[in-house]
């Protein structure tokens, strides 16, 4: 660009972040300067092209039309698992219902039991970690001191060096353990958050799908009533 309009001003206006006065100045300038007008149009077109770069989509689901024998077996196994799951739900006394809020699943008071089991598991996990830490923090028993003789006097510096090295290693190990523990905790939280996002997405999808189905059923019933 070879005129008085600075590129930064053009950019500001292009992204709609210029003040109203600057925006007006750019507009007036574009009306008189062909070079800047070309530049403006080219940059606008480029922004449109940049929009074509999408994030990679998740892999497509397998296509049933070309299912091989092995795939059919897998499907059958999955169906059996689903059947077993629903049978289990039935035996456990769970109730599946559908209302205005979508599909609901209740366990007749078993939620509290599930919650309790999860808490117990969490407590066991915390206790095991605490026990491990306590065991590691325990000082290493040192051998009973022997009467200093000519031989042990020459070995003393070596023994001190070894002890210092052990202490250093223990410190390093403690640090690594603490680091690992924190890393695991964040990993756990991160995974839980993503699982929860996935479940909400599925929940929404199921709800929408059920709503659509019931809407269609309503239309069908209306149509058959009219006949």
């Amino acid at each position: 660009m070879s005129c008085e309009l600075e590129p930064e001003t053009l950019i500001e206006a292009l992204y709609g972040e210029a003040t109203a006065a600057t925006q007006e100045r750019v507009r007036q300038h574009l009306g008189t300067c062909a070079a800047c007008r070309d530049e403006w149009q080219a940059l606008g077109g480029l922004r449109h092209q940049l929009g074509a770069w999408k994030l990679p989509a998740s892999p497509a689901p397998p296509r049933l039309g070309f299912a091989t024998r092995a795939q059919l077996w897998r499907l059958a196994a999955a169906a059996a698992l689903l059947l077993a799951f629903f049978a289990g739900l039935g035996l456990s006394g769970a109730r599946v219902g559908y209302g205005p809020g979508g599909v609901t699943l209740s366990f007749d008071g078993r939620e509290a039991e599930l919650e309790r089991l999860l808490q117990e598991q969490e407590q066991r996990h915390v206790q095991a970690l605490a026990a491990l830490e306590a065991r590691l923090a325990r000082p290493v028993p040192t051998p009973a001191a022997t009467a200093p003789g000519p031989e042990s006097a020459s070995l003393t510096p070596v023994r001190l060096l070894i002890e210092e090295s052990e202490r250093r290693q223990a410190r390093r190990f403690d640090l690594a353990l603490a680091d690992q523990r924190e890393r695991l905790e964040v990993q756990r939280r991160y995974d839980l958050a993503r699982i929860s996002a996935g479940l909400s997405y599925l929940d929404g999808k199921n709800g929408q799908s059920m709503a659509r189905t019931s809407e269609l059923m309503g239309y069908l019933l209306q149509a058959s009533d009219q006949r």
Partner: protein, 197 residues
């Protein structure tokens, strides 16, 4: 409308660890997308995004709110990207041969026609390649502006550079991208309308 980032940070600092989960849910996609577009690898984007949240989790108790939480999180992610690029010794992972990774070829969306799909994939591939070939500072600004929708002020906060530097980098990056795409035979489809009064 849920609690703001600042409210969640305050809750986390008071000991409500679950506030961090909400922050992860809110920012995971954006941060991962930014890393993917800067580095060009889905796997690295997943790894570094998790690493960024780990660093945030550790540093959050000491976070004083000098900057917005999002700017601070972007800073962490961009530092990780820089480290990774340094380790690659200047090599750029994205290439025109395989810019979007194998996933780009696995799409089986019956929506658009095959021709449209091929054309859009082609343009997407070329844009990815052209962005990847930009110098790092320009690439980062373009990703933050075009794909993360940050304001100039937010970008200047994230990168800790003056506002004018952000605009200059963006202008240079866009100019270079345009030339690069034109060399590859991609031309702008529709002229931009002039700014309204």
């Amino acid at each position: 409308m849920g609690p703001s980032d600042e409210e969640l940070v305050a809750a986390f600092q008071r000991g409500e660890l679950s506030a961090f989960d909400t922050l992860v849910l809110r920012w995971d996609g954006k941060i991962r997308g930014a890393i993917y577009r800067i580095l060009g690898s889905e796997e690295e984007a997943r790894d570094l995004c998790q690493e960024a949240f780990l660093k945030a989790y550790r540093a959050l108790p000491g976070f004083k709110g000098q900057a917005r939480f999002s700017s601070w999180l972007y800073q962490i992610a961009l530092n990780l990207c820089r480290d990774r690029m340094r380790r690659r010794r200047g090599r750029v992972f994205l290439s025109l041969d395989d810019p979007a990774g194998p996933e780009a070829y696995q799409r089986a969306d019956p929506g658009p026609s095959t021709l449209e799909l091929v054309e859009s994939m082609d343009i997407s591939r070329m844009v990815a390649g052209a962005v990847a070939s930009l110098p790092e500072d320009q690439r980062v600004v373009i990703v933050l502006k075009e794909y993360q929708d940050l304001t100039f002020l937010e970008i200047s906060e994230v990168l800790d550079v003056p506002l004018s530097t952000v605009k200059t980098r963006l202008y240079r990056g866009l100019t270079q991208l345009r030339e690069s795409l034109e060399r590859r035979g991609v031309r702008g489809p529709a002229p931009a309308p002039a700014p309204t009064a």
